[in-house]
Symmetry: C2
Subunit: 242 residues, 2 copies
């Protein structure tokens, strides 16, 4: 427990998470912060930072004056909505062997709404990549990513199979920082229903989102559809602070 990077806090967090999952703590009671600090040879602050992250993930909960405890219901959440990054990972977390099929890669002029979201001129060319994520042979997720052609510094559209964040780093030299997402209920139209292998009109969740880079500039406009019977999203909702 000496090397930095990953940070001490990260190491402590991973270490504690492993012990929690392994059931090391009797009756779900986690040792006091002072005790953990002494045991692991780090400051109480470092322990607290690690515990705070585990708490916000739902792995533990704390009661002032009483102690820190394992949160069984929270432990069962696999794909936390706020933390989804790569759909391959989501499917892998669900125990599936994921694969990706590229449906199409096209260049199109941006309509007004898309241009506005991406902060480019209406009508300027946008690369549209449609992909389907499958578990074994069942389609689960259908996504459409739109990237302004002007952001591409080389023509790597053959690399559409790559995860989006990797594609953006490789061909736009921009790192995705976060998505601003809207959750929309839809009835799948014929084309999308066929691609996802369900009857036309099946209810589905749709994410309409904008991806921003580290400089807070929009880089990608995504639309995604999900097979509710195969993949369901969960999250923890807490009381808002101040």
């Amino acid at each position: 427990m000496i090397a930095r990077n990953p940070s001490l806090t990260d190491q402590v967090k991973v270490h504690l998470k492993e012990r929690i999952v392994a059931g090391d703590f009797e009756a779900g009671r986690i040792p006091s912060e002072t005790e953990l600090a002494a045991d692991l040879g780090v400051s109480r602050t470092t322990i607290r930072d690690a515990l705070s992250r585990l708490e916000s993930e739902g792995s533990i909960y704390r009661k002032q004056g009483a102690g820190t405890f394992v949160n069984e219901p929270g432990l069962q959440i696999k794909s936390r909505l706020e933390e989804i990054w790569s759909y391959e990972e989501v499917l892998r977390d669900h125990g599936y062997a994921p694969s990706v099929r590229v449906i199409g890669v096209n260049e199109k002029p941006a309509d007004e709404a898309i241009a506005n979201d991406l902060a480019v001129e209406t009508g300027s060319p946008v690369l549209v990549m449609e992909k389907l994520f499958l578990e074994d042979d069942d389609p689960v997720i259908l996504t459409m990513n739109r990237i302004p052609v002007g952001y591409l510094d080389n023509d790597g559209r053959d690399d559409a199979v790559e995860p989006l964040y990797a594609f953006l780093e490789a061909h736009c030299h921009r790192k995705l920082a976060y998505y601003l997402s809207e959750i929309v209920p839809v009835a799948l139209d014929l084309k999308k229903a066929r691609l996802l292998g369900v009857p036309k009109g099946t209810p589905a969740i749709c994410f309409e989102e904008i991806g921003f880079d580290l400089d807070n500039a929009p880089v990608v406009r995504s639309t995604s559809f999900f097979r509710d019977d195969l993949l369901r999203f969960r999250l923890i909702r807490r009381r808002a602070g101040a």
Copy 2:
């Protein structure tokens, strides 16, 4: 800037949020942490805690070595999915004048799924409260809350109009700590569509959730439906840590 409770961190957070919203910071640049600490007469740690919360809310973003900046797109999010607590507040945040109509209050035996979620015996009595939230005269949210009758220490079912967390504190002496929520796409059936004032079969988001108290015990099982055309949920998705 002396009194405790609300905590110094909370006060700093609120203070900074006000200045951000008011546009006090030129070109979206927020003063350095050291500077803020000196100006407000608190330690840098306190400033950092406040900034961290504003960052997770999406109000600001930080770049190591560069500075801290206002996050315009994040500022526009009104109802952040992870922070929803009372639906009245959600509607008020959207600029509506909310009202509540109690559709029905009944006692029913718990079916197996509900009993399991609430950790009670199958068939034990559950109080079911159905409510409709309206903005002006338009229905927006339909909810159904199920509470084990055994948790009620007095018969206050006439108070169903109260927000759920207030009802639980008043009649069960339990404080809601968090919800574990599942997001489900549905097509509204005739009854629900009528209550929400939309055509039968309209796609809608449904929350299936369990509310837990401070001791991490389940206290309420809720199901909610939303008018997508009137209320749309947003959230920020970030890269998961470790």
